[in-house]
Amino acid sequence: MTHGSRSIAVEGLARVEGEGSLRVVVEDGLVRDVALEIFEPPRYFEGLLVGRSYAEAPDITARVCGICPVAYQMSACAAMEDAFGVTVGERIWALRRLLYCGEWIQSHALHVYLLHAPDFFGCADAVELAELDSAAVRRGLDLKKTGNLLMETVGGRAVHPVNVRVGGFYSPPEPEAVVALRDPLRRARDAAWETVEWVSGFDFPEVEAGYVFLGLSEPGRYAIERGRVRSSTGLDLTPGELLHTVVEEHVMRSTALHARLDGDVAYLTGPLARYALNGRSLSPLARDAARDAGLGDVCSNPFKSIVVRAVELLYACEEALAIVESYEVPATPAAVIEPRASRGAGATEAPRGTLYQEYELDAEGTILAARLMPPTSQNQATIEADLRRVVQASLELDDDDLRWRCEQTVRNYDPCISCAAHFLDFSMERR
């Protein structure tokens, strides 16, 4: 099986957001080429934003992705506030973090339980998994529901929230509505603890990779809605500076741009990166859970990203609970915005990695130029490198199993191909 040529195709990768395909060529037992092709049709957001008002950017960019709209809204706000030199009050920041925790809980519960866990049981989907372990799937659905409840309470809606604006919110939620989140969040915290225990018992392929990690960091806490860009190689930059350090390459096979750091360095953003850079800032409970799960200080096995995601799920529940307990209605719902001719950049931690936005604006706040850099396009080069490693180490598998393993490898990244431009068509050639 490992000699001669071999050819496999994954036509349509499931349980990811968007459309892509995967081609692998193996010759005489060596992986010759791996290409993640993204054929999600382009939507030209950077083009259609030109001529729109700064105030429309949070709602328009949210439509890039139905799974992580808050990430788009928060990065858009950060970029505009950077451009206009606006300082936002701490109570508004706390409410933003609460909304963002809702998105992390919703998105991580979706990925851990519905998209990723079925692979570890050889199930096609969560409905099949529920036949084996319905309590687990229900726990995941309950967690997801709590995330959505948080987003509805703070943002007004789970998919494409309506309450966010540059400078803050339209109406901060009433204290009673926030207090009502306490019991569901306590249950979610317990369920998240069980989630870490559950996933840490899965069988993981032994794969270790040397990654360059990149993500936001903030002193004293796990960065979500703001921070400076740090890397495992010692970078320490503002989001705007990072955007000018990254080269985005347009390759023929993809409607997503491939991002690399200066000097052609592929890097990784998302849960593994955040954990490696900021793990010490996790809450004591989340650190305990990570230790019990055997994660260590750095996790370099991409298949174990599900464990890191579960730890982050636990953290997000705790963090949300803490914000709820100390909630005070902001004195004003939003900072005053005075547009000026300017440039600004912002970045926040989407559940699947750092999301950057940069704008150039005229004196009235009309957008002259826009740039969006979503997590999946940043991770694409690393996903391909991982696939190469995984295929090379798994050549003894038959074609069906190898195809599944490749799909799982891509799903390790919770890729949002809709963002990066979506799903996997797999083709493999063994020569």
């Binding site: 083009g47 989907d125 998919v159």
Partner: protein
């Protein structure tokens, strides 16, 4: 378990995936739904793929490539009932803003090699290509409405999804009218109900994400907004977002842009 359960398939075209996510957001009903129907194809949720024909096809996204213009015909041919979900599938979506600019003018803004990209000059709703049995509107759709549509189709009745405007929903939930009381620009009078009147409830004018209601007077609303001091350019933008290519909104944004040009000249 009966093997004669109706089959449900979910297809994606050009979109953000948020409307299909609304199905997975039915956390309390999802496992029950999976017993009532056979989920035959739903790539966002499952790697299993059962070939058609399907009893119900939910279609998300708009048509923006030549390949998709063909694919939608194949899906129609293999589906007994075809339901579009969301503003992209039902009206072209935010990406239909390309319909208003010369072909190809956005490509170079985003991509270094426009020649690698093959996409159509327009983003069009599914109904521009094939017959559609039911259109569910919203950016995103409301999951309760989605469950109602699936339930109705399974029961063989017409879905109860109203075509009146958001104003009715504000009245029903007791939200004070922002347009009348505060002069806030609000698309509520011309926008289809379904969200529950979310934006006015947080003190924000409706921005039209459910598209035009059944009978609308967009000209009257636009005149009112201008009288309240809004510039024609900003009125045009209001009509030109997530349902920009819906005929009623398209006509009004064009009229406002023309008025804006005249005002400057």
């Amino acid at each position: 378990m009966s093997t004669t359960r109706p089959s449900l398939a979910v297809f994606k075209f050009t979109s953000c995936d948020g409307c299909q996510l609304s199905l997975l957001d039915c956390e309390d009903e999802l496992l029950e739904l999976a017993r009532a129907v056979r989920i035959a194809k739903f790539a966002q949720m499952s790697r299993a793929l059962v070939e058609g024909p399907y009893d119900i096809a939910l279609v998300e996204g708009s048509v923006t490539t030549a390949r998709d213009a063909e694919r939608v015909k194949e899906i129609r041919a293999s589906s007994r009932q075809l339901v579009t979900i969301g503003a992209c599938a039902s009206a072209g979506g935010i990406q239909a803003l390309r319909n208003f600019v010369p072909a190809g003018s956005y490509t170079g803004v985003v991509y270094a090699h426009p020649e690698y990209i093959s996409s159509l000059a327009t983003s069009t709703p599914i109904s521009s290509h094939v017959d559609v049995d039911f259109e569910l509107h919203g950016c995103p759709i409301d999951r309760h409405q989605l469950l109602e549509v699936i339930t109705a189709l399974l029961a063989g009745r017409r879905p109860v999804v109203r075509g009146y405007s958001v104003c009715q929903e504000c009245k029903a939930r007791g939200t004070v009218c922002l347009l009348v009381a505060r002069g806030t620009a609000c698309m509520g009078p011309v926008t289809r109900a379904g969200c529950g009147g979310l934006c006015p409830a947080v003190g924000r004018g409706c921005f039209g994400c459910f598209g035009p209601a059944d009978t609308v007077n967009t000209g009257s609303l636009a005149a009112r907004l201008r009288r309240d001091g809004m510039q024609a350019r900003d009125v045009a933008r209001l009509f030109k977002t997530f349902n920009a290519a819906a005929p009623e909104f398209r006509v009004q944004s064009a009229a406002e842009e023309a008025a804006g040009e005249e005002g400057r000249g």
